[in-house]
Symmetry: none
Subunit: 189 residues, 4 copies
């Protein structure tokens, strides 16, 4: 009976990959990643058959964490705007608390080594959150534009806003609010 794969090592590898990819881009070498994770070069390949697999798994892992965060319960009695504001705040907060992961994600999104399939898988993980936001926008935005606001604008606008906050951390409150206002007012029918 062989030794089982250690979840701990897998995690260390993903974290090391996240750090190094954030820093150096997807060109970060497997040797460096393995070393940063405290395992040998060969071990990386028992957890991820190839570097592409590591990249894709990392992408899914990070998106998955974000999706989990978004899934936390929302106060159902709050107004649509207020619930959407919570979505917005969670997005921003997660990004600021996971800035390396976010940087890594940026690199991964832009790389053609992350497959369409991985992207699709991640998209699916946001199904519930998406539905929730859909409800929030239901009475507020033009129905035919709702898909555009959610799928195209919301997350990307949050990303932009986070970049602005990252550049001027002291103005976080103001920028965060300005970003939300832009989205809310801009999406009004």
């Amino acid at each position: 009976m062989a030794r089982p794969l250690s979840e701990e090592k897998r995690g260390a590898l993903l974290e090391a990959a996240s750090d190094l990819i954030a820093q150096l881009g997807t060109g970060a070498s497997t040797a460096k990643i393995a070393k940063a994770a405290g395992v040998s070069e060969g071990t990386l390949f028992t957890y991820f058959p190839s570097k592409d697999d590591l990249l894709n798994d990392l992408f899914v892992e990070i998106e998955s964490e974000l999706a989990q965060t978004m899934l936390a319960p929302y106060p159902m009695e709050a107004s649509a705007r207020d619930r959407l504001l919570i979505v917005w705040s969670r997005l921003i907060e997660w990004g600021l608390n996971h800035s390396t992961a976010r940087k890594a994600l940026l690199q991964l999104k832009v790389s053609d080594r992350v497959t369409a399939q991985s992207r699709q898988r991640c998209h699916a993980m946001f199904f519930d959150s998406r539905s929730m936001v859909e409800q929030c926008l239901a009475g507020h935005a033009a129905p035919e534009r709702i898909a555009f606001y959610i799928d195209t604008i919301l997350f990307e606008l949050a990303d932009i806003t986070m970049n602005a906050i990252a550049a001027k951390p002291k103005e976080r409150e103001v920028i965060q609010q300005a970003g939300f206002d832009l989205f809310w007012k801009g999406s009004a029918a």
Copy 2:
């Protein structure tokens, strides 16, 4: 005397670099770029002392083209909204007409091989366009947020919009308008 540097070859190299970087990221090899440009590997380095120089020059080149496009005259008698709509349309049109350049730009922006200095140089090239947009927003948006709307939101939102259009080219008109509306309504005081 001797043979003069050929602007044609320089152009071919930049174009080849643009294509391959759009496709493969900044990891695209100088050998491939030279081959695609129809010159020998060594020749690349007579035009660009190093790959980093090529990357930076390409970045500046692309941004410069975009900046030129934005600089074309605007009808001074048009309303603020209409003039901003022209800005928006030019941005989108340029992006759609130069989709590889835009993809390459995306990769370059995300790479730390493009220096702060190059980014600064490009930022400066948009000074006039920026002033113009500032005037458009003057009576429309809250004064303290105008900088945020221009420096952080406008171009990035256009990028997002272009991505959406690229994914669904048939809905171009609709998406382009939805993006503009979001910006205009969202930025109203």
Copy 3:
């Protein structure tokens, strides 16, 4: 665990380097050296982090072998002149038996890629031999010139002598003796 570094391969690399550097100078390529050693190009760099390291290690290695040879016991009852003659003979013999190593050494000494530190390390390895020679010269040479004779003249004169022998191997005995006589008589007070 894993495969241990093979002392055999390291040796083969150093020997191949010695041969090729003797022949072609320090410009001998790592690819040629690896091939001559029967390992792949990459393997060279698992044994020596860089070509400079290889060069320095080789320098130290060769000097070390020579130093070992010189360290063999000397008949304590022999006269100063006779003991010095043994030093001289060992020097010449080593040189003739290791003519490629000696040629390589010549190239390495002349290269600025061999660091001051490596040279210092090697100098130190001859400390005991140096002391012995010092004793031999003690009653024979002018005290203020002993350092000059040892540090500057002895080894270099042996080198010159070896070159002469290499050019006319048949006259080895005569040349070897002539070289020694020059040193012994020339250094007399």
Copy 4:
């Protein structure tokens, strides 16, 4: 009628080559040498068909200058020892006054790109000086060893002595004398 080759440019190229080879070894690039000489890369090759030719011509040039120096008249009435001392002094003085040329020479001697023919040509240039030294040693050294002393020892010993002086310039007088004494006393029959 084509433009004649300029002796000035040829000289500048040889001098630049001397400097750079002294500094960087024979690996110094033709481009750097041309630049240092203030001519274009291509021009180097109208004066020297190949880098090997440049190397060989430089070797001959430097040796030739030294040979010229040695050829200056000697006081015929002086004793053999005194005349030999003049030879020795000129050798040392030339070396100290032309330290870059000497360093370059060292690199060239050790390189297999300098052909046996070039070496032979240089050897021949010292014919007269050699005869003169031969006369000086005639009544002093064992006849069968005179060739060894002249061809093998004299110049090389001077080289060694110069290195020692270069390392400790303040002790020039002492070292220069010690070197000569070693040669004179060492070569006595």
